[in-house]
């Protein structure tokens, strides 16, 4: 799949002017609320007609305003999972699920059973949507969109309305969906944790413009994108392999930057996971520290330093094949005499973990 989007649209004082191309996999539109993400997705779905622009999926042009082309939403074959589940209240879960299938041609019983199994909603089929929990509704909405056999799936913050526990319940289904169906997905989110966990490509949106685009690991560790990301969210995404589960509840992982010890990462040895390291959780030392409580100390080399307007500085480090981002003060940077090429030790205080299937990246 390739998705090419070029849009210009304005309502009131807000102006959207974006242009990006995304390869196969999960593409995340990431940005703050009000940055224009939902407008972009609605334009791709055909629910909004932009003032100007082009949308094409897999070489099929769906919108080309200059050429007078605007395919209506029901002929686009683009699935859409909205912020709210939007289940049809007068239909059973089963009827909701097969609503789109009749337009996609033959109903495939095996495909139905497979998706229902994948989402774990087999016991809900005869219920009404009003009798479902929030997490169950989200899964049914997801299944309904997949069963309409779309060529592209749009997801507009499908987890935003759920609490943390429900999010944790749904995310594994999204990951299975991504890995087992191979369906291209455009995923809107303002949660960096979700994006780091799911996305192949990240499109960073700021004030109606594309501020950065690239692989998740690149965009999150790009100091130039830090402002759009929000400084607190800047950080690296490492690929790691689970080596062993230790008796004290810690998990030993290996990365190309060195070994890591983290609290309980689920999965048997050999599982590949993504580890998100926030820049503000990384400390730097010029000498190898001793007598320190932090378990993870990775040798690294300074690649560059970007100083902001405030007292802070973002230091980009090379460690093995990985990039690590550290946020320190300018005062510390000059006190330690940091400069590109300098060897340092990165000390990791805390990390959040994103599990990922074997073989990706």
């Amino acid at each position: 799949m390739s998705l090419a989007v070029s849009l210009k649209h304005r309502f009131g004082t807000f102006r959207l002017d974006v242009d990006f191309e995304a390869p196969a996999g999960v593409t995340a539109l990431y940005g703050r609320s009000g940055s224009g993400k939902t407008t972009m997705v609605n334009a791709v779905a055909g629910l909004l007609k932009p003032d100007a622009g082009i949308v094409s999926v897999d070489g099929v042009t769906l919108t080309d305003i200059n050429a007078g082309l605007f395919v209506p939403p029901h002929k686009r074959r683009i699935g859409y999972v909205f912020q709210e589940p939007r289940l049809f209240p007068h239909l059973s879960v089963r009827s909701n699920l097969i609503y789109g299938a009749r337009f996609a041609g033959l109903q495939d019983e095996r495909e139905f059973d497979r998706i229902v199994g994948l989402l774990g909603i087999g016991t809900l089929l005869d219920r009404r949507p009003s009798k479902l929990s929030g997490g169950e509704k989200s899964r049914v909405a997801l299944g309904r969109a997949i069963l309409s056999k779309p060529r592209l799936l749009l997801m507009d913050e499908p987890l935003a309305a759920l609490d943390e526990a429900r999010k944790a319940e749904i995310l594994p289904y999204f990951e299975r969906l991504r890995d087992e169906t191979g369906l291209p997905i455009l995923y809107v989110s303002h949660s960096p944790a979700e994006v780091a966990r799911l996305a192949t490509t990240v499109v960073l949106v700021e004030d109606g413009r594309v501020a950065a685009i690239g692989a998740a690991a690149e965009v999150f560790s790009d100091p130039g994108a830090a402002h759009a990301l929000g400084l607190r969210e800047a950080g690296a995404v490492l690929t790691a392999r689970i080596e062993a589960q230790e008796a004290d509840g810690l998990t030993r992982l290996s990365t190309s930057a060195g070994p890591l010890l983290l609290p309980a990462v689920n999965g048997p040895p050999g599982t590949m996971v993504r580890v998100r390291l926030l820049a503000q959780d990384v400390m730097l030392a010029t000498d190898k520290p001793s007598g320190i409580s932090a378990l993870n100390v990775l040798p690294a080399r300074v690649r560059d330093i970007r100083e902001g307007e405030g007292p802070g500085a973002l230091v980009r480090l090379e460690a093995g094949d990985e990039i690590i981002l550290a946020r320190i003060t300018r005062r510390s940077a000059s006190a330690l005499d940091l400069a590109p090429g300098r060897s340092v030790h990165a000390i990791l205080k805390a990390v959040s973990i994103a599990r990922e299937s074997v073989g990706e990246i």
Partner: protein, 232 residues
Amino acid sequence: MTDWLTPEEWQAVALSLRVSLVATLFSLPLGIFVAYALARWRFPGHGLLNGLVHLPLVLPPVVTGYLLLLTFGRTGWIGGFLDGWFGLVFAFRWTGAALAAAIMAFPLMVRAIRLTIEAVDPKLEAAASTLGASRPWVFATITLPLILPGILAGSVLAFAKAMGEFGATITFVSSIPGQTQTMPSAIYALLQVPGGEAAVGRLVVIAVVIAMGALLLSEWIGRMVARRVGGA
């Protein structure tokens, strides 16, 4: 049943039922369309259409009946056209009574249906369109089932209003026994002759029974629909 009603009284009851039923059923498709247009579309003349629909509610019924006579009478511009081309005559026929009843009941029907259409979340319809449903299909499978309670309530209201319509009917089609004498016209006529109280009493009882029956029926169907929709 015919034992305790005279043939004339029975005729009036049957005619009223027929007039009300025809008026309700024939105005329903137009009522749904107008309610949908008023609820969902913004177009020039929106306010004018809204006013026109509600006019019979605020005009004296006699005026409505007189206007009907002017336009739908045999020499009226619509009436003459329909008579000449289709042989369809309204003036002083039971069809005219049905037309008068339909027009008088129309605002009530449209209001009830419009309220439920406004309560349907357009987001559900957008979701259906992304699943591949064309607009007519979205209307048939999503909108229509969700507004069923409003259609039902509107129909019952319209039927009840049609059963009781008097002023416009008697002005437009007069009160010809067996032809255009509906139940209210019959009650009025009977009140004009001495000794008609017994007959009036019987007709009043029937009017109350029919009205109560319609209300109970609509409540029962409403409950069935609500259960089917699941109270979401």
